[in-house]
Amino acid sequence: MKLYGVQAVVINSRQMRDADRVLTLYSREKGKIQAVAHGVSKPTSRKRGAVQPFCHSEFLLRRGRELDTVSQCEGRDIFPGLWSDLDRMGCAAQVCEPVDGLTVDREPNKAVFDLLLGTLRKLETVTEFELTVRGFELQLVALLGYRPQLDYCVNCGNGSLNPVAAFSAASGGLLCKSCAVGTDEVLCSGETAAIMRLLLDWDPVKMDRLRVSIRSRNEMRKVLREYLQWLTEKRSRSLHFLESISDYRTPD
């Protein structure tokens, strides 16, 4: 049978020629899939809603020689809360981008799917969306086998980590003060390391209760940006977007 059904989140959607779009789906059943949705930019298309980025939909796909095509689809969660707020939209993109970058086609991972869907649901309502994204990033890399070493220095094995100094993306973990040479590692204080350890295992529901200083937020953002960039070998586009809109005045 050439048709198959999946439940998936639309993690990317690019305009192709005419009214077609190429979708990147992360499905529960088959992992990452690329598929073409024909005619979905026309107002008459019934598929249009369910193929928008961040949507969680049921898809009926037809196997093709190169790319599969969307035969039918129906939206399950369309996340209007992500669409009506620029910052949440940017966070949703930050959640979808590394899933695309770190996974390979057709390798299912149910835990990744559940984490992705659960995080998008949280992002619609949670007030602490920045930490929600950080928690997602940490848990995602851990699920995919890149759990960062946050308990001791990756170089000398010093477990007291006193004082913690930096995070090395290439070594995948913390460095103590005597091992940090300061070339390509990112500043990371003891407080920041402690919060990242918490976020690695915490339920995002509890995120609103966490108190985190601006300094630690900035350190964590840089640490995870470096780590994801190193793992995906790409600069984050969604982070660039979020930074570029954070200045609400005239861009110059």
Binding site: R48, G75, S238, R249
Partner: protein
């Protein structure tokens, strides 16, 4: 099949045009090469002239062969209402509906959280400059109803509201002639959100 230098270059250039694959590019190339020489010369001349003459209107950013463009130069158009669109083709689409008497602003694109396209890559600075003289009363955001269009509209609203100009967004409704039961969830949701009193 491989062709000699000049022919393969022509095919390559044609294949860069939207909607033209390599097969069509070959067909076009061989048509141009077998037709009388003036066919190809006229086409090359027309492309060159159009490209030289057509530029962005310094006021609204729409493509034009004179400065300012016909809409911006028209005394009868209401300069107090600016309709912001993503693409010059959107201006043409709205002009077909003759009911709009205001002027336009063409962004030449939309913000994209996933592609990492930020405001610095769009024609936004000149829009804000147009609002500074206090004569503009309303900005209509006519970006597409998708993630990119919505992101652009939300960003512009954030930028423009503090200036004290009214910001409106095109209603997201059901397509004319469509039946409710066939509408997707997003469209229906937005149509309910954007409902208005019947007068």
């Amino acid at each position: 099949m491989r062709y000699a230098g000049a022919v393969s270059r022509l095919i390559g250039e044609l294949a860069r045009l939207p909607g033209i694959g390599s097969k069509t590019a070959q067909r076009l190339a061989f048509f141009l090469l077998s037709a009388p020489p003036e066919v190809a010369e006229n086409l090359a001349f027309a492309i060159r002239e159009a490209r030289l003459q057509v530029r962005r209107c310094p006021v609204c950013g729409n493509l034009t062969d004179r400065e300012p463009c016909a809409v911006c130069a028209d005394e009868a158009r209401e300069k107090a209402v600016i309709c912001v669109v993503q693409d010059p083709r959107d201006v043409a689409a709205i002009e077909k509906y003759r009911g709009f008497k205001g002027v336009y602003h063409v962004l030449h694109g939309a913000l994209s959280p996933l592609a990492g396209l930020g405001p610095e890559e769009l024609n936004i600075k000149s829009l804000i400059a147009r609002l500074e003289n206090g004569l503009v009363k309303e900005v209509i955001l006519a970006t597409n109803p998708d993630v990119e269009g919505d992101a652009t509209a939300l960003y512009l609203a954030r930028l423009i509201k503090p200036i004290g100009v009214t910001v409106t967004r095109l209603a997201h409704g059901l397509p004319v002639g469509a039946h409710l039961e066939y509408a997707d969830e997003i469209t229906l949701g937005k149509a309910i959100e954007g409902r208005r009193e019947i007068d």
